[in-house]
């Protein structure tokens, strides 16, 4: 029988093969109408390839739906390279194989990656191909996009840490290429370098960690390093160092404190790239790596050894969540808000994983799996919601840009003497707008788009609701699980330190409510702030398809919750049948809203309620009071958005909330400076790296080059001395021969 696993190899291979093909075809057919039109400069190929990958992934996943036990199938495909090493005087041969490892976590991520890649490919057909800036270089985008997808899909499927690392680096490379897609802009090339180098710091640690792991186990295969006997045989202290190093790698990739500085800058890439890499897939790589450390923590042989490392993971998550949410408060760039939101939400997952690892390491297996499942579920929800949010922001930016082009053109044509910047509905600040420096991503240029872009506004609202954790929508289920897990950990004996991350997460939930709502209301509510915003129409083809799809998926979070997604992904103990959905939803509801009989149930219930209150009422209400507002006269939003807009204007009218004290405080100032991290890092670079580089340069010039030059100079000098002996006269040569012979005789005589 043909099984999906036989074809699973094609999932990463197809995009890798398509990558050079698109580049080649793009260079050959560049500029031809058919290539631009029907082939979308390679976009069609990319979409088909990714669509095939999605189909294969779904085929693969079907086998896992309804699986009662978590079966893990390992497909060893072949040896990649083998070598011999001398160990203790014996020749030992090693081989590094390539194979696939499938379990519930990897198929879940496989689905997330291929599904989002497919939708983003469709989105790009609309977004990239209708922008004249990208003309004749879209093939580069699509090719790199595919290579990136191959990296993510391959990483998820890899059955050992070495291949995981290789695909991880492919993603790093593609991230660099795609962020620097507009390489002619200095800011873009700077951002690309920054992202590459910052993640590189983490990657070095990861590599060191993997080498230590290899030293311990003599293999990097999952099946070997996770084997209970093998874990029991190694030294816990060394293993902890290896795990710590690998965690630092994950911190770099997932943009967590203190290696978070690259993510906001990475928004310089085209929006599909932001959606794909910096929200939906690549940043999940770090989470996946940490999730793959679970067996080490869960091993009974290591019980209690790694609690501090788990605590560190949770703390890093807590700090990042809080810090990123704080910085997101003041961002004016719509994509930057989403970037910080991404950091913050990923940090939630890190804390959830930290709690899960802590529980696993202290022997609370059941609750550990629950926390682990909740983290993975949040990863799923966040990827879907954030992918959608980024695409929606891309839609806004694209249309803004489009209208701005028209308006600017109109201006230069007709009002040479006038200063009226644009059309008839000149808003408050429209007069002085300098069109050459118009920022299509700045939210202060938007406003009132709810009626003009209904699909985008709906998608944005649903996505924000999922991120905020509004009850019953996607992210709610998982977020509650993570916060609950963190609190439970802090209440378990020995876990008091977990209280810090738990509190930070609770506060951040409210902050998330504020900054996501702020973004929505600034963009979609109120009156248009610029004539450009007034002229926006939703018209680009292809863009609505992914938005609508993801809106449905995000709203359907409740169904996934009912399917006991949390149990399914963690240990496979879930019966996913449609008949069970309703009872599943019922039990999830009960779990979330009613105090359970378990230990500390009342407090956990209180925490849950508090989270709901601050994240769905306090946060958004504050945002409404500051940024809400009625739409322009005559404009009507869709009914499901209209109430939101009018509610916001009512809240704003009734509460004259003045935040100028906050807005002008030193705190806001340092938030605008991103809490000075960039400045500190730059200063550190200047203090440490630059002198070190200078020292290296000196060493290179004087020691290495000096040695070479010395040899060269010395031999020249020496040869010019020796050359004088070459007189050309036969008699001198005879003399030399005679003296030489004499010398030889003397020597022989002397020795004898």
């Amino acid at each position: 029988m043909v099984s999906a696993i036989d074809y699973a190899l094609w999932i990463p291979v197809l995009p890798i093969v398509a990558f050079p093909i698109i580049l080649f075809l793009g260079n050959v057919f560049k500029g031809m109408p058919a290539w631009r039109g029907r082939w979308k400069e390679g976009g069609t190929i990319a979409t088909i390839v990714i669509g095939t990958c999605l189909g294969l992934s779904i085929w693969l996943i079907v086998g896992y739906i309804g699986q009662v036990t978590g079966n893990e199938s390992v497909g060893q495909i072949g040896d990649w390279l083998s070598f011999h090493m001398v160990e203790n005087g014996n020749l030992v041969s090693y081989s590094l194989g390539f194979g696939m490892y499938l379990d519930h976590v990897s198929v879940m991520l496989l689905f997330v990656a291929s599904f989002l890649c497919f939708l983003i490919a469709i989105f790009s057909l609309g977004y990239m191909n209708s922008d004249p800036v990208n003309l004749d270089r879209n093939h580069r985008f699509y090719a790199e996009f595919l290579l990136f997808c191959a990296g993510m899909l391959g990483m998820v499927l890899a059955d050992n840490f070495l291949w995981l690392f290789i695909f991880w680096e492919i993603m790093g490379l593609c991230s660099y290429l795609l962020i620097g897609f507009y390489y002619e802009r200095p800011s873009a090339s700077y951002a690309a370098k920054k992202a590459f180098l910052t993640t590189r710091v983490g990657d070095i640690f990861l590599l060191i960690g993997l080498l230590i792991l290899w030293n311990l186990f003599g293999s990097l295969d999952f099946s070997v390093v996770w084997a209970e006997d093998n874990i029991a045989a190694v030294d816990a202290g060394t293993l902890k160092i290896a795990l710590f190093m690998m965690f630092v790698g994950a911190v770099g990739k997932s943009a967590q404190f203190p290696l978070h500085v690259w993510l906001p800058d990475a928004m310089e890439g085209p929006t599909p790239v932001s959606a794909l890499i910096h929200a939906a897939t690549m940043v999940n790589a770090g989470l996946y790596l940490v999730a793959r450390m679970f067996p080490f923590f869960a091993s009974p042989a290591m019980a209690g050894e790694f609690t501090d490392l788990a605590m560190l993971i949770a703390w890093i998550g807590g700090i990042t969540a809080f810090m990123a949410a704080l910085i997101a408060f003041v961002q004016m760039d719509i994509k930057k808000v989403l970037a910080y939101s991404t950091m913050s939400q990923l940090a939630y997952i890190f804390t959830g994983l930290g709690a899960a690892l802590w529980f696993a390491n202290t022997g609370h297996e059941e609750i550990a799996l629950l926390a682990f499942g909740a983290s993975m579920f949040h990863l799923f929800n966040h990827a879907m919601a954030k992918g959608m949010l980024f695409m929606a922001s891309g839609s806004v930016i694209h249309e803004m840009h489009h209208v701005h082009h028209e308006v600017a053109h109109h201006d230069s044509g007709e009002s040479a003497a006038g200063n009226a910047a644009g059309g008839d509905h000149d808003g408050g600040q429209g007069g002085g707008d300098d069109h050459d420096h118009f920022d299509a991503q700045d939210m202060s240029n938007m406003g009132g788009l709810a009626s003009k872009m209904p699909i985008t506004a709906t998608a944005m609202a649903v996505g924000s609701a999922s991120i905020i954790g509004i009850p019953l929508i996607g992210g709610f289920w998982s977020k509650e699980g993570i916060i609950g897990a963190a609190w439970k950990a802090s209440l378990t004996s020995g876990g008091a330190w977990m209280l810090g991350p738990a509190l930070l997460l609770l506060i951040t939930a409210g902050m998330t409510g504020f900054y996501m709502s702020r973004m929505w209301f600034m963009t979609f509510a109120g009156k248009p702030n610029t004539p450009v915003a007034n002229g926006v129409v939703e018209q680009t083809p292809f863009i609505p398809i992914p938005l609508i799809t993801l809106t449905v998926v995000t709203l359907g979070g409740i169904v996934f919750a009912g399917f006991e997604f949390v149990h399914w992904v963690a240990d496979g103990h879930a019966e996913m049948h449609f008949t069970h959905v309703l009872s599943g939803i019922g039990s999830e509801m009960k779990h979330a809203f009613l105090p359970s009989g378990e230990e500390n149930g009342a407090l956990i219930f209180l925490v849950t309620m508090l989270t709901i209150v601050i994240s769905t009422i306090v946060g958004p209400a504050t945002a409404m009071a500051l940024y809400g507002g009625r739409l322009q006269k005559g404009e009507k939003a869709k009914p499901w958005l209209a109430w939101l807009v009018s509610l916001s204007s009512r809240v704003r009218r009734n509460n004259h909330f003045d935040n100028s004290i906050w807005a002008n405080s030193g705190l806001a100032d340092s938030l605008h400076q991103r809490l000075h991290f960039d400045a500190w890092y730059d200063a550190a670079m200047l203090k440490i790296v630059v002198p070190f580089a200078n020292a290296c340069a000196w060493f290179d010039q004087h020691i290495i080059d000096g040695a070479i030059k010395g040899i060269e100079y010395g031999s020249q000098e020496g040869s010019s001395v020796i050359r004088r002996l070459t007189t050309g006269s036969g008699r001198d040569y005879i003399m030399m021969v005679a003296l030489g012979t004499l010398a030889i005789f003397v020597l022989i005589w002397g020795v004898a």
Partner: protein
Amino acid sequence: MIDPMWAVVLGICLFTIGLWGAVTRKNAIIVLMCIEIILNAVNLNFVAAAAQHGDVTGWVYTVFAIAIAAAEVAIGLAIFLSFYGHNETISLDEMELLKH
């Protein structure tokens, strides 16, 4: 019978004289003559050694050496003639093509 040792001492003297002449003199013909002296010093050694050991091999070698020396002189003189035809001199100071 004379002690072969004296023959060896004479050979050394002849060799030294020949080497001295070959290294110091300018005139190619004199140098050629000095080389003959060196060859004959060697021949003397051969003869002495043959007498010492009562072995005819040394005499046979001597005969060969004399024949080859004659041939060598013929070739050497031919080279000098040819050189003289080109350069109007046979001074060894002018023969420094090896330098280049």
